[in-house]
Amino acid sequence: MMTILGVPLQALLGQLLVGLINGSFYALLSLGLAVIFGLLRVINFAHGALYMLGAFTALLLLTHLGLGYWFALILAPLIVGVFGAVVERTMLSRLYKLDHLYGLLFTFGLALTIEGTFRYYFGASGQPYSVPSALQGGTNLGFMFLPIYRGWVVIASLVVCVGVWVLIEKTRLGAYLRAATENATLVQSFGINVPLLLTLTYALGAALAGLAGVLAAPIYQVSPLMGTNLIIIVFAVVVVGGMGSIMGAIVTGYMLGIAEGLTKVFYPEASNIVIFVIMAIVLILRPAGLFGKDA
C-alpha cells in the first residue's frame, strides 16, 4: 500500500475528507458569525443554538409533518431565519445603544435558554436522522470510499458560501451591507433603512446556521447540545480568519477543518487542540487575523 510519511494514503485521504466535511460546517457557521459581527458588532453566542435549531426543525418536520430532508433543507433555514429576525427585532435591537458586551451576554443567555428548553423536552441524547434515499450509499473513488452524503455536504456548503460571498461582494444589497458595516449612520442618512438591514443580516446569519444544522443532522445526529462544542471551534475560526471578514471566515473554515483532519493522521493526540494552537499563533503574529484589515 502506498504511504506518505509513513501514513497509508487511504488513512490520509480519509481524514482529509473528514476534515473537509468538518471544515464545511466551520465555514458555514463562521460565515454567519462574520456577517453578523461585521454589521451588528455582536458576537453571536447563540449561533450554536441556531445550528441545533436547524437540525431539530428538520427532525420535527419529519416526525410531525412527514416532511423529509429536501423540504427541511428549504424550510428549516427559513424558519430559523424568521426566528432570528424576531429575536433581533424584539430583543437584540434594544441593546445596540449599550456596550457591545451586552449583545454577547444576551446571545449567550439566549443560547442557554434554547438549549435548556430542548434538553428539557428531548433529553441530552442524540436522535438519528437518516440520510435521504437519493444520497445514500457511496462510491469508490479508486483510492478511497466516498459516502455520497458527505460529498454532497462539501459541495452544498461550498455553493452556499460562494453564493453568500457573491451576495455581499457583488450586489446592491451587499453594497448596503458593506457600507453600513463601515458607517451605519451615514448610510442611514442616505435614506437606507438600516434597522431593517440589521434585522435581515441577523436573519441571514441565523438561516445559515439553520442550514448547517440540517446538513449536519444525518451525519452527527440531532441533539440539544450539538452546537455547544462546535461553537467554540467556530469562534476560533472567526478569530483566525479576522473578525468580520467574509472571505476570511470561508477560507479559514475549510483550512482549519483540513488542518484538524491531517493532525488526526499524524499526531492524533493533538487533533482536539490544533485549531486553538493555530489561533494562538495567528493572534501573536497577526492580531487582526489572516484576512483582517488592520494586519
Partner: protein, 233 residues
C-alpha cells in the same frame, strides 16, 4: 413664497453639552446660502442636526412644509435632503461606482450616471477602484456626485474645499455654480469666504451656537473688516 428649508429655535446637545443655542435660518428654493464662523462655533453641528444625525434636539425644522423633527433618520433623505459630510464619508470596501450608486434615488430630477461622469470625468476613469484610493479632491467630488444622483433638492455641504489644492477648489466652485443654475438649493458651510463669496447668495455668521449676523452677498465688501475680525483671518 415660504422658504424651502426653515429652521427656527434649534437647540442641540452632544450628551450633556448644549451646543446649539436657538439657531434660526431659512433658505429659499434655488438659493445658496453659506454659514461662516470660526472652528467650534456649531456650523457642522447645525448641518448634522438638520439632517437628523444629531437626535438630541429641540425646535423646528421643516423642508417644503414637511416636519423633519419627528422623522426617522432613514426617512429624511426621502424628504429631499442630501448630506455631504466634512469627512466625505467615502466607503473603502465599495468601489467608486458602488459608492456612487449607494444612496437610493429619492425623487426624479436627479442626475443620470452619464451626466455625472461628464461632470466628473476622473470618477469615470476610476469607477472600479476602491473609493478611498481616490485623491482627497476626487473623494470630495464623489461625495457630492452621489448625492446629485438621488434627486435631493436641498443639499447640505460641509466644508467642501477643506484641505484641497486651489485648482481643485476652483473645480468644485464651477460644479456648485452649475448646480445652482439647475435650481439646486444649497446650504454651504465654509471657512474660506473668498471661495464662498463667488457662489453664495446670502451669508450667515455663526458664533457660539447661534446665528449672529445675516447679509446678502452684495453686502460682503462693506463687511470685510468685520468678517476678518470675526473669523480671525
Amino acid at each position: 413664497m415660504a422658504p424651502l428649508l426653515n429652521v427656527s429655535g434649534l437647540h442641540a446637545w452632544y450628551g450633556e453639552s448644549h451646543v446649539l443655542h436657538g439657531v434660526d435660518l431659512h433658505v429659499d428654493q434655488g438659493e445658496m446660502i453659506c454659514i461662516l464662523g470660526r472652528n467650534g462655533m456649531g456650523k457642522t453641528t447645525t448641518l448634522r442636526t438638520i439632517m437628523g444625525l444629531l437626535r438630541k434636539r429641540t425646535g423646528q425644522i421643516t423642508l417644503g412644509g414637511q416636519d423633519l423633527m419627528t422623522m426617522p433618520l432613514h426617512r429624511t433623505a426621502h424628504a429631499g435632503l442630501g448630506f455631504v459630510p466634512e469627512e466625505r464619508g467615502i466607503f473603502a470596501t465599495l468601489t467608486v461606482e458602488e459608492n456612487m450608486m449607494l444612496p437610493p434615488v429619492v425623487a426624479s430630477g436627479g442626475m443620470e450616471l452619464d451626466e455625472i461622469y461628464e461632470l466628473f470625468p476622473n470618477l469615470k476613469e476610476r469607477r472600479n477602484s476602491p473609493g478611498t484610493k481616490l485623491s482627497g479632491g476626487e473623494q470630495q467630488m464623489l461625495a457630492m456626485a452621489r448625492i446629485l444622483r438621488t434627486g435631493a433638492n436641498c443639499i447640505l455641504l460641509d466644508e467642501p474645499t477643506e484641505g484641497l489644492a486651489p485648482v481643485i477648489i476652483q473645480r468644485i466652485g464651477e460644479v456648485l455654480i452649475k448646480l445652482k443654475s439647475r435650481g439646486m438649493t444649497v446650504v454651504l458651510v465654509e471657512q474660506n469666504f473668498r471661495f464662498a463669496s463667488k457662489i453664495a447668495d446670502r451669508f450667515y455668521l455663526m458664533d457660539h451656537g447661534q446665528m449672529v449676523a445675516e447679509f446678502p452677498v452684495g453686502d460682503l465688501p462693506n463687511r470685510m473688516e468685520f468678517l476678518n475680525k470675526e473669523l480671525g483671518v
